[in-house]
């Protein structure tokens, strides 16, 4: 782990060490005095219930430190702090900026392995609480992503319908086709419409093409969703589809999928998590 690269972490560890060392050192010093010195000094006249009091002077180290910290405090508050013109939001903006420059240059053209690695990290932090660490949806609490985004999932969608992302066309009705035809449409869609450009059932492409009109009514001839009226199926099976889901959220048959449009994920991170999610069903 590269914890020690973070100077705040280092500072905290040093702080913890300082507490121990200083306390041990100072207490040790007084312990030695208890062991070796003799108490002495002039007593005041007072006596309370048998308790007397010496007129001893202040321990010099203590007095000087007290004075020193007071002077430092005054200086810091009146001079050091105003001159520094510190602002915590300013510091935050700096942090984000330097991070972004670093991040953008490094990952402006991420390759597949980078996207997968990055996507897995994002998934575990942001998505796993609902979809489970493996993406299996934890017994139907959220979508089982290992069965989503492939041809079988298209078949299931045709049979069961789809709803919940508030597309202008509203819901996709269930049972538009029977299981056999659905399988064919899915093959056609994966080979010809979707970016995947590949199907497990090439033999069904042509019969699927014939049935596509059912879908084109809403998704358009090219499957691109008729300018946002319904989902753009040309991205289905690719990470862009997931990115879109993250922007729209979904209140579907299973439950609610929140939107991720509060700025917590950058575009690259969304692409990455999309890549990762699609890999789950492959």
């Amino acid at each position: 782990m590269n914890w020690l690269n973070d100077n705040v972490n280092v500072l905290a560890l040093m702080g913890a060490a300082a507490i121990l060392i200083l306390t041990i050192f100072v207490v040790g010093k007084y312990m030695r005095q208890m062991q070796n010195d003799k108490s002495s000094g002039e007593l005041t006249k007072d006596n309370w219930d048998g308790i007397g009091e010496y007129k001893n002077p202040l321990p010099i180290g203590w007095a000087l430190s007290f004075l020193g910290t007071i002077i430092w405090g005054l200086w810091y508050f009146l001079v050091g702090y105003p001159l520094n013109s510190y602002s915590q939001i300013g510091e935050y903006n700096e942090e984000v900026k330097s991070y972004n420059t670093h991040f953008e240059s490094k990952f402006s053209n991420p390759d597949k392995t980078t996207l997968m690695g990055m996507g897995e990290g994002v998934f575990l932090v942001q998505c796993a609480p609902c979809h489970g660490v493996t993406g299996d949806g934890m017994n139907g609490k959220a979508l089982n992503l290992s069965k989503w985004g492939n041809e079988d999932a298209v078949v299931a969608t045709i049979l069961n319908g789809a709803k919940g992302s508030d597309y202008p066309l509203g819901e996709m009705p269930a049972g538009l086709l029977d299981a056999e035809s659905a399988k064919a449409v899915a093959a056609f869609m994966f080979k010809e419409i979707s970016e995947v450009k590949n199907t497990k059932h090439p033999e069904l492409i042509e019969s699927g093409r014939a049935l596509w009109a059912t879908c084109a009514a809403c998704h358009g001839d090219d499957g691109k969703g008729m300018a946002g009226s319904s989902p753009d199926l040309s991205t289905y099976g690719a990470s862009k589809f997931v990115v879109n889901v993250l922007g729209m959220g979904k209140k579907g048959m299973i439950g609610n999928m929140p939107k991720f449009n509060d700025g917590r994920l950058t575009n690259v991170q969304k692409l990455a998590v999309g890549t990762y999610v699609n890999s789950l069903s492959k």
């Binding site: 705040v8 507490i19 306390t23 007084y30 108490s39 309370w48 219930d49 048998g50 001893n56 405090g73």
Partner: protein, 488 residues
Amino acid sequence: MQEKNALNYDYSVAKCFTYATILFGIIGMLIGVVIAYQMAFPQLNYLAGEYGTYSRLRPLHTSGVIFGFLLSGIFATWYYVGQRVLKVSMAESKFLMVVGKLHFWIYMITILTAVVTLFMGISTSKEYAELEWPLDIAVVVLWVLWGISIFGLVGIRREKTLYISMWYYIATFLGVAMLYLFNNMEVPTYFVSGYGKWYHSVSMYAGTNDAMVQWWYGHNAVAFVFTVPIIAMIYYFLPKESGQPVFSYKLSLLSFWGLMFVYLWAGGHHLLFSTVPDWVQTMGSIFSVILILPSWGSAINMLLTMKGQWGQLKENPLVKFMVLASTFYMLSTLEGPIQAIKSVNALAHFTDWIPGHVHDGTLGWVGFMTMAALFHMAPRMYKRELYSKKLMESQFWVQTTGIVMYFSSMWIAGITQGMMWRATDQYGNLAYSFIDTVTVLIPYYALRATGGLLYLVGFFMFTYNMYKTMTASKAIASEPQNASPMAA
């Protein structure tokens, strides 16, 4: 004014509060041990239905130890020390006796009601000020009674100069009075609207303002409950038990006024990186660092009082308790300022390092000092020697081990937690999901809970020793001047 007509101090109220200290100590720490184990083994949340969850019990633990254990400890020592350093007996004033008794009973009723209502979930959520307004009023009443007792006794005192402990008791009284009143300003909703529960209220302050008032209170509750009255105790009991004069009047004086002045400014360190104005936060950090010195001043004064008295440390377990208490006081008043540095707080805030810091102070400083004080008082109040020195010795080691387990596990847990929250992977993403940062801590939670259990076991040893001292120990003919008599 010498020993000729030695005074007959009246300890009846001190005794009552001694029992309360022990009772609430057991309740408060037992609940502490339960919640500590709940964090390691969450199944323990379900032992008492809705009333046994961690979140119902946690305010009960903090209120139990602070307002139950600690406050009654403070009152017990006050009703003992006050008479002695002012050289006047409660028995000399019927009025003050009535006030003292009333103080005790109203206190008991208030705290027992507080226990019940917190179990029921009646809370305003403000930390260390959870009680709803009817109980706030009861608190004010008992506080006023305490004030009457203090200033009444001062009024009829024979010893004209106030001893150091008196300074600190008076400061406790005034400080808490002011803080409690302002932080608990709330409007009962039933009386405005005519609807809902009669005891419900809503805070006078909103949002950031409420936060500022709360931590001005919260921080100084630490000052005026965990620190100032405990210093009052150590200034009396350590010199008295050891027979050594206080090392330096000047040091006492400067530490006192320094502490009074500096403490109140430091509350901003609970609100670092929040939405309160930056200058308030900075002020909090600066004064926290300055605060080391007046805090260490008292601790050093006490350690130097024991100069040349190493032998007592080995022979007298009471002295040992008190010297370790001031050591833990130094540890936590150095740790606090370090945590108040902005960049350290960025990591430490919200983590287990904070409860770690808290218990350095409360177990090591507050707990040890309170128990030592009661041990010292017992032979004088009950006219019997302390029941068992051996038991005290073992209690000391059991509890010290407990504290070390508590703070070392929480240091590691807290710093690990803080680092994991901010850690990033090679892609610049957060490296850990939140639950990852929880599960790694479980072994430390278990260790901490066991440390706490040891401390509780020690407290039972203390209770047993006190009980035997009160009932079965050898009677003593005359009051010991210094070192408390104890059977091997």
